[in-house]
């Protein structure tokens, strides 16, 4: 924690005005703190405030030492005294807010941290603490702008990123709860439940909820795609193909749906049916490598080996993924062998074997 205290001069001046001897305590306390001797610093500063209880700066410095001594409750008491004596004392609001936050009293911390923010708007840690305090107070919506501000200043700070994730999660849960409370039978409510199951690895439950959502509104293209992905992942390619067909009924030009439908048809061994979808996919403006690969596979199935080689070569050029490249080399070897190009067959088999050896190097 960094708290800037530029109060020593004022403190010395204040003490001198009282005509007492606590200055020596304060100087020794400061020196002990800087040397890491917190117990000694605490004793000196306690002696200082005992000798001169009306000096806010001495309480502030004692609060700082108490906080660093992992005694936030005592720190908060000392800091409250400092603020009572001098409400505009620089640094006191920030330190008190942080001490209360450390004590697990975020609601009490919020006004002090807000005051600290007004006092020092460029301090990103105050935003971070405010975000944490608002989140702890059950106000994720109020936490979000502070955490985004903190992230803007320190994009990789782990605590800020953690708090942001938690904030979004709470906001999502809250919105979902509101959705379920106010429109439990709506398609969007079912969709939210389905996506939650889906993201948490519960495919059976996700499919059931997607089914309810689609029963309410069959134009939910994303839901059809999700159903297709889930069914395909379970090996139910026929059901997956049906779902992708439904998605295409709503969004006929959806390139992703077209490719997925074609891949499902291929998985069912229906290369002839997949072919028009794949040929359409590779004539689009931006062609994903998977489309060339799938088309190559379809041509292999249909015994059109020369065309298969052309598409697989395009797929090979377009991907740097070693797993995919290994597969494509293997398929190219098969296609090359079929057209009598034994040189290419050997070359692709060698490339395949080298990649396979690399990718399975951990196996005994």
């Amino acid at each position: 924690m960094i708290v800037r205290l530029t109060v020593l001069a004022a403190l010395a001046g204040g003490l001198a005005a009282q005509g007492t001897d606590p200055v020596g305590h304060v100087r020794r306390g400061v020196a002990a703190r800087e040397a890491g001797r917190l117990d000694e610093a605490r004793q000196e500063l306690e002696a200082a405030v005992a000798a001169a209880p009306g000096i806010a700066e001495a309480h502030l410095y004692l609060g700082l030492v108490l906080h660093e001594s992992r005694d936030p409750a005592a720190a908060a008491d000392s800091l409250r005294t400092a603020l009572f004596l001098k409400p505009a004392l620089p640094g006191a609001q920030q330190l008190l807010g942080y001490s209360l936050l450390t004590l697990g009293r975020p609601e009490e911390a919020v006004p002090h941290l807000e005051a600290a923010r007004r006092e020092n708007p460029g301090e990103w840690r105050v935003h971070s603490w405010l975000g944490r305090a608002r989140l702890g107070a059950g106000e994720p919506g109020a936490a979000l702008p502070h955490l985004l501000e903190a992230q803007a200043h320190s994009p990789r700070d782990p605590e800020v990123l953690y708090l942001l994730g938690k904030t979004y999660s709470q906001l999502a849960a809250r919105a979902q709860a509101q959705l379920l409370a106010s429109a439990a039978d709506s398609s969007y409510a079912h969709l939210a439940v389905a996506e939650d199951h889906d993201h948490n690895g519960r495919p059976e439950e996700a499919l059931a909820a997607y089914g309810k959502a689609l029963a309410e509104d069959e134009s939910l293209t994303g839901a059809w795609l999700a159903v297709g992905d889930l069914e395909g992942g379970r090996g139910n390619h026929r059901a997956a193909a049906d779902a992708y067909q439904q998605a295409l009924a709503t969004q006929p030009a959806d390139g992703a749906a077209l490719l997925k439908l074609a891949q499902s048809l291929l998985a069912l061994g229906l290369a002839n049916d997949a072919l028009p979808h794949l040929e359409a996919a590779v004539s689009a403006e931006r062609v994903p490598p998977a489309a060339h690969e799938a088309l190559g596979k379809a041509y292999l199935d249909l015994g059109r080996f020369a065309r298969a080689r052309e598409e697989l070569e395009l797929a090979l050029k377009a991907t740097g993924d070693e797993q995919r490249r290994m597969t494509i080399h293997y398929q190219l070897a098969r296609a090359s062998g079929k057209v009598g190009d034994s040189q290419a067959e050997r070359r692709h088999l060698q490339e395949f074997a080298a990649l396979r050896a690399k990718l399975t190097a951990g196996d005994k």
Partner: protein, 563 residues
């Protein structure tokens, strides 16, 4: 042989698609009934699983069908596991108690069985071998089926003494195979007239190097955690002994994690080739170099990996012609999400991965298989597929919800080279979830159809009787007796042609599947055809024997002509 008419028929069938099957054969809904309880078979497999989860505990459960006493009825031999116990500071295999030992049941009348294990001396009592599977074949050509038992810790070669007893000839015959042996098979590798032995070995693993895998939940280790091993080829010297020619014949040049083995003549050159199913490593196809050894050409011919160049957990295997084009194809079983790979023999020296196109991909996406067989279970002239099933991990549900450890067996009927899942209508056994492993196939009650005995890990087996002889099409079985070649006819290739069902080819072998040995008789379904117009037997000696106008619904004894 001229296969062209058959090729044309297969092509037409493929063009017609799955709806055309009815015109090409007789459609039936074959059903099976599990009669284990009333059969007198009291065997229960014991793997004795431990909390340490030694991999060997989840891999066993083989079965063999053999007519050891020559009475015309198939008898049943079950291979037990054993117990792993601490003794003298080491983990060792215990087979001392009867419930840990192998069991042989004599088939009395096709329906009832009696335990003849002790009388015949075939229990493996006291052997330090954790049992896996068995192979059958008449290695001494005396007319009686002999038996090889595989397992962790060694093999046992039993010589059949005229059906009256079995004699352990392992050491005298030089048939001991160390390490962890899995599936095995007899075949005449060098066509010298007697049966040689191919023994797969799974891993370079032993009880002392065994370990538990998994972090939060202990699981059986993946084979990737252990080094690969080499399979073994034992050449029959013709005098009751064998010589290990694995190195000389090239088998030892290629390592794998072998579990299944099947034989057939892939390139139609008259020499038997060997397909080996490997778990998580490349599959192997040992091409027979005309009796001068073998060479693994699986990668070159497209059999080593799936269509994406990925390995799979090859377990059981079969090597038969599924699409009736006259060329032997290869099917294997694998784990859930891997699909059961089916490779079609293209006839040009290559194999094509046709799992998706055949319908097997859709059927097997979530299944995990072990023993597998391509045979005409419904007598329509097309070879169907049976698989014994279960995941390898007994707690897979905790690892991956949606997958299941216990699974019912699968029967997929072949409709013009496209498979459909017929399990839902095939009877109660196909709704019963078990830890299926080995399975052997043969006509237990001699009614003409193919029955199944399926080994179940840590449980009683399934003894599945088929009703195809009553509800299905016509059938024909051939019992082969060789003269120049192996006496039990193994290695003969039989082609049968009938009017409507067309031409079919079968290879005479007891091998295939997983850890199991099946009926040596060659079975055909004939659909509506009551007569086989032509039967051609190509014996291992090269002799071709032709038969014409053979009536269906009989077991025809065919002897190889000549001296």
């Amino acid at each position: 042989m001229d296969w062209s008419p058959l090729t044309q028929r297969a092509r037409v069938a493929a063009c017609l698609g799955s709806l055309a099957w009815a015109a090409l054969g007789t459609a039936t809904e074959v059903r099976f009934e599990d009669r284990a309880l009333e059969s007198g078979i009291t065997f229960r497999h014991h793997a004795n699983p431990t909390p340490e989860k030694h991999l060997v505990e989840t891999m066993g459960g083989g079965v063999a069908l053999l007519d050891y006493d020559g009475d015309g009825f198939l008898d049943v031999f079950f291979i037990n596991g054993g117990a792993l116990v601490e003794s003298e500071g080491r983990l060792q295999v215990d087979r001392s108690r009867p419930h840990l030992q192998d069991r042989l049941y004599r088939n009395l009348d096709g329906k009832s069985f009696e335990d003849v294990t002790e009388r015949l001396g075939i229990s493996a009592a006291g052997k330090a071998i954790y049992g896996m599977g068995a192979a059958t074949g008449d290695y001494d050509n005396d007319g009686h089926a002999d038996l090889l038992v595989t397992g962790y810790g060694g093999t046992i070669l039993y010589r059949n003494l005229q059906g009256r007893a079995f004699e352990d000839r392992t050491d005298e015959a030089g048939a001991r195979v160390d390490g962890w042996s899995a599936s095995a098979g007899f075949f005449d590798a060098d066509l010298d007239g007697d049966l040689d032995l191919f023994v797969t070995r799974y891993l370079d693993w032993n009880l002392q190097t065994s370990r538990t895998c998994g972090e939060a939940v202990p699981v059986y280790c993946s084979p990737r955690a252990y080094p690969a091993a080499t399979s073994v080829l034992l050449r029959n010297n013709g005098d009751g002994t064998f010589s290990n020619l694995s190195t000389d014949w090239g088998i030892g040049a290629s390592r794998g994690k072998a579990l299944g083995v099947a034989f057939n003549d892939a390139d139609d050159d008259g020499w038997p080739d060997v397909f080996v199913a490997n778990d998580s490593t490349a599959q192997q196809l040992f091409f027979n170099l005309g009796g001068a050894g073998f060479e693994d050409r699986a990668l070159a011919v497209g059999l080593a990996y799936n269509e994406d160049g990925g390995s799979f957990a090859g377990m059981g295997a079969d090597f038969e012609d599924y699409d009736n084009d006259g060329r032997p194809d290869v099917v294997a079983t694998a784990l859930a999400k891997e699909l059961y790979p089916l490779f079609r023999n293209e006839g040009d020296g290559s194999f094509a991965y046709v799992t998706r196109q055949s319908g097997l991909g859709e059927i097997t996406a979530r299944l995990s298989g072990w023993s597998v067989k391509l045979a005409d279970f419904d007598h329509d002239g097309w070879k169907d597929l049976f698989a014994a099933q279960s995941h390898v991990l007994d707690n897979v549900e905790r690892m991956e919800p949606g997958l299941a450890y216990l699974q019912p067996p699968l029967i997929a009927l072949n409709r013009a080279a496209r498979f459909i899942d017929a399990s839902p209508s095939a009877g109660e056994p196909f709704e019963t979830t078990v830890a299926g492993r080995g399975a052997a196939f043969g006509d237990l009650d001699n009614d003409g159809d193919i029955d199944i005995v399926a080994g179940v890990l840590n449980a009683r087996p399934m003894v599945l009787y088929s009703n195809a002889s009553e509800t299905g099409g016509h059938w024909l079985q051939l019992r082969l007796t060789g003269r120049s070649g192996p006496r039990d006819g193994q290695g003969a290739s039989v082609s049968l042609e009938s009017e409507r069902t067309g031409r079919q080819v079968r290879y005479a072998t007891t091998s295939g599947g997983y850890l199991s040995a099946s009926d040596p008789r060659v079975h055909f379904g004939l659909g509506q055809d009551s007569i086989a117009l032509r039967i051609s037997v190509r014996w291992p000696s090269g002799t071709i024997q032709q038969l014409e106008d053979v009536a269906a619904r009989q077991v025809l004894h065919v002897e190889e002509p000549g001296s």
